[in-house]
Symmetry: C2
Subunit: 311 residues, 2 copies
Amino acid sequence: MSINQVADFLLSRDNFEILTHAYPDGDTLGSGYGLCLALQQLGKNARVITTNLPKDFVFLTEGVKEQSFEAQTIVSVDVADEKLLGSNFEKYHGKIELCVDHHRINRVEADIKLVEPEAAANCEILYRLFGVMNVEITRQIANCLYTGVSTDTGCFKYGNTTSTTMRIAADLLDTGIDAALINKVMFDTKTKLKIRLEQEIYGTIDYFANDRGAIIAVTREMQKRLGVGDDELEGLASIPRQIEGVLIGITMREKEDGVFKVSVRTDRSVNAAEYCAMFGGGGHAEAAGCTVKGTLDEAKAQLKKAAEGVL
Amino acid sequence: MSINQVADFLLSRDNFEILTHAYPDGDTLGSGYGLCLALQQLGKNARVITTNLPKDFVFLTEGVKEQSFEAQTIVSVDVADEKLLGSNFEKYHGKIELCVDHHRINRVEADIKLVEPEAAANCEILYRLFGVMNVEITRQIANCLYTGVSTDTGCFKYGNTTSTTMRIAADLLDTGIDAALINKVMFDTKTKLKIRLEQEIYGTIDYFANDRGAIIAVTREMQKRLGVGDDELEGLASIPRQIEGVLIGITMREKEDGVFKVSVRTDRSVNAAEYCAMFGGGGHAEAAGCTVKGTLDEAKAQLKKAAEGVL
């Protein structure tokens, strides 16, 4: 569906519920609240449906009016698969009319789909859509869209960042938003507990294959001992891969006794998706995941052996 | 001097030596090698003069021709004060004809000065200058300018980033440079030793004033024991300030027995420059420095007491 047709669809409808994915991040929430603000600006009723709203993202709801209405139009943003609606799956699956997304593989069954995998962030698509719909990009809308674009590109650091991404961010900065504050909250803030956890993890980095591989592991015992919640585990996967010379960085996280969730980050010379496929997992060329069973030592030994094979 | 006049000056001259500041960073080196490539593209002789070239920046020299000539025109880039030429001060002070810089206070005595403090990076000024001079922005020149813009803005994260910064970066991306690789080297690579040092430092964070202040210290004993060179100490100052709730983050580094170099990073609610002025130092509102004498405990006590006064 073309962006103009999607704009026409939105302009012709009312009473929107906008669905975000579970474990919501900056891009799904920025998309959701940005679209909500845009629709309300056009005189329509709209609300965002999310499983939860982490406190760092509460500022995105600024200016959103609480409206009482019966939902008529269901839109999903940044949702690649209805299963990712989490606790909202039961209520909404099969009811999405419009799906706006940027994931390469999108499995949402919707009447109207606007899926653009070349967009670094879903918020980029919404920015262009708002242009077609003549939405005024207020500072509040810009806060939402900037947050999505910035978080999905690691603050314009990753390879998905294009010149279009940068120009959209430039337009958003021109509204006068405090991007530095947003970025500080998103990228430069750690809790005391997170610092404590990183200290512990740094002490247990397991280098192998002449330091071309590195594994870190977070056990349930460690989490319990340090009092670390799941929130603090965000972003750990980037630690082993950041180390100079490491081509494959593996992060193990004990889910329940004998089950480890594994995140793999690789240099371009090693395919992370192919590596994870050996364990029944998958993902992207430089970032993938899988699940491994066994004790910590057994699971680690399996992961190392396979890694030595691909290095 | 207007940018057109500076362009005319460069076009009318030849045999350039381009001076960078000591402890060279991405912006001074990106400016230096970018300008050198541009001048060589225009058929002129040029070379970069730097105190040293850290290995991460060697890629900036790609495509630079080694030319043999007698220097006639001395240009400084990103140099706020001739003293900052370091070991090149003796040879070059008083000889700079053109100074291109973006520091708010520039003390270089040069015939021609192009100083634009609103530019986030000196490389921004050069990008616009190259436009006036009809320099073709090759991929090699774009590598240089992007490195300067990216490093001086913390990858577009800090408050100095403007929409102009973003649009210039967009134009540079359009040349096809591998910005993700540059950013990985600049921002996402740590040595094993650095990890080891951070682990040690995390264990010694000293919180005070109800966790609104945090101090870390690197002693000579610690450096010696871990085998950590001065290179590994880069970027440590951001650690204490990153902790949630910390308004003043203080990093102490023992230079010689009884002398500590202190870096201070603050929230907007606390003025770092005013704080450091109490110890005879200075700097910016959110990043400043000073020197404190005494044993570690004495110096720390002084710094804490003063911090408690301003919190």
